[in-house]
């Protein structure tokens, strides 16, 4: 403050002397940079509804199966509803984690339907449509709990859209959803946009297979080869994160 005031009062001839001009200009550049960067960050944050502020990992409208106060430990899973490995992880790992750590960790699921799974996108649409009526978790559980009834034909990946759609509507009815609204939301561009955003975020984060987990932003790759090993390791990491 005082430096600027002095510089302003100075005779223009002497003001051209090196150090003061340099110091003033340096100060101005720093000040402008801090104001612009800080201002843009703050403005962007307060205008959060625009979506530009959404985190790549956890957007503001992300689906949380478990929510912890202050999001101290956050587990994010990129999943494909028709991927057999995801279904195995659901049964062997995430369903248990969701129960055991309920309220202690924030568990977020993101869509990452893979090509080669023709019913993955319809299933993701069903889950998102259920989410629009506040029943995302119910649909998520129904899809994986009844994986064999819609996702597979015997051992191979099913492409039977009619059968799957009928099943999804059955799950929706069981969850107490307004079926007309569920159908409309499932077909809506808005729901597809959410799925596309999830896929884009996953791609940006380097996700190329499912399930892919991020624990507090760090990609978790199971060291062990079996589901049981993966569960043990993920629990150990979560426990360490909770303790730390």
């Amino acid at each position: 403050m005082s430096r600027t005031a002095r510089a302003n009062k100075r005779n223009p001839v002497t003001a051209r002397r090196g150090p003061s001009l340099n110091a003033v200009l340096t100060g101005v550049v720093v000040l402008v940079a801090v104001l612009v960067i800080g201002g843009v960050l703050v403005l962007d944050r307060s205008g959060g509804a625009g979506g530009a502020s959404s985190g790549t990992l956890v957007p503001p409208d992300a689906h949380t199966l478990s929510k912890a106060e202050g999001d101290q430990v956050t587990l994010v899973e990129f999943l494909d509803f028709q991927c057999p490995a995801c279904a195995s992880y659901y049964t062997g790992v995430t369903k248990k984690l969701e129960q055991d750590y309920r309220g202690r960790i924030t568990f977020v699921t993101r869509n990452f339907p893979l090509e080669g799974h023709p019913l993955a996108v319809p299933a993701a649409r069903a889950a998102e449509a259920a989410g629009k009526q506040g029943k995302y978790a119910e649909m998520y559980h129904a899809l994986y709990d009844n994986f064999d009834t819609w996702a597979t034909d015997g051992r191979s990946t099913s492409a039977d859209t009619a059968r799957a759609t009928a099943k999804f509507e059955e799950f929706a009815t069981a969850a107490g959803l307004d079926l007309e609204r569920f159908r409309a939301d499932s077909a809506s561009a808005e729901v597809q946009a959410v799925i596309d955003r999830d896929v884009a975020d996953g791609t940006a984060l380097g996700v190329d297979s499912t399930p892919t987990f991020f624990l507090d932003g760090e990609e978790f790759s199971a060291g062990g080869s079996t589901i049981a090993d993966a569960e043990r390791e993920l629990r150990a990491r979560i426990d360490a994160a909770l303790a730390g």
Binding site: N22, V36, R45, S53, S54, G55, A204, G217
Partner: protein, 181 residues
């Protein structure tokens, strides 16, 4: 060459040397065990693993930090020699400026690669960016008498330079920074 520049050479060159050395050690650890996760890989954005695995990390057919170890060692040595009384002749200062000019061009190519191609920030690399710019800038001002006008606003130019790069980094990883808030 004045003592302030000599100290810049010692400290800036020393920081660059340490960063290049650390990157080389990480590279060796990674060669020994491909599954090794470098100590500087903290999350998808702040990561040197993805940077070290990129094609740009071996721009001349060998790992870039080897260039850093050789180059920054010369910079530190020059600084120490000047502090010990060495008066570098003009040809020496021109050569030093040519070396730092190569460094600064290379660093900006790497910044562009990191921000727009690899999409990751490697902390040790950022240290090299931060020191290479003033090493080039002040070596240039010291070498060319015709730049007297710029010498009067030397730190303003440096800070502006940093601010532009900080802005580009902020913009390129916008989602990451806002997720931290």
């Amino acid at each position: 060459m004045n003592r302030a520049l000599a100290w810049l050479l010692v400290l800036g060159g020393g920081a660059g040397l340490a960063a290049a050395g650390a990157l080389t050690l990480e590279k060796i650890a990674k060669l020994r065990d491909p599954a090794y996760v470098p100590t500087c890989s903290l999350n998808p954005v702040v990561s040197c693993g993805s940077v070290m695995d990129s094609a740009q990390a071996e721009a001349f057919g060998f790992p870039n930090p080897l260039l850093g170890i050789a180059g920054f060692a010369v910079v530190v040595t020059t600084g120490v020699a000047v502090l010990a009384g060495f008066e570098p002749p003009r040809w020496y200062r021109v050569a030093l400026n040519a070396g730092t000019a190569f460094g600064v061009v290379f660093v900006h190519w790497l910044i562009a690669a990191g921000l727009y191609d690899i999409h990751a920030l490697c902390p040790y690399c950022v240290v090299v960016w931060v020191v290479t710019i003033p090493l080039f800038w002040y070596s240039t001002l010291d070498t060319w008498p015709g730049l007297a006008a710029l010498r009067r606003v030397h730190s303003a130019v440096l800070v502006l330079w940093y601010a532009v790069i900080a802005g580009l980094v902020l913009h390129a990883f916008w989602d990451y920074w806002t997720s931290l808030l």
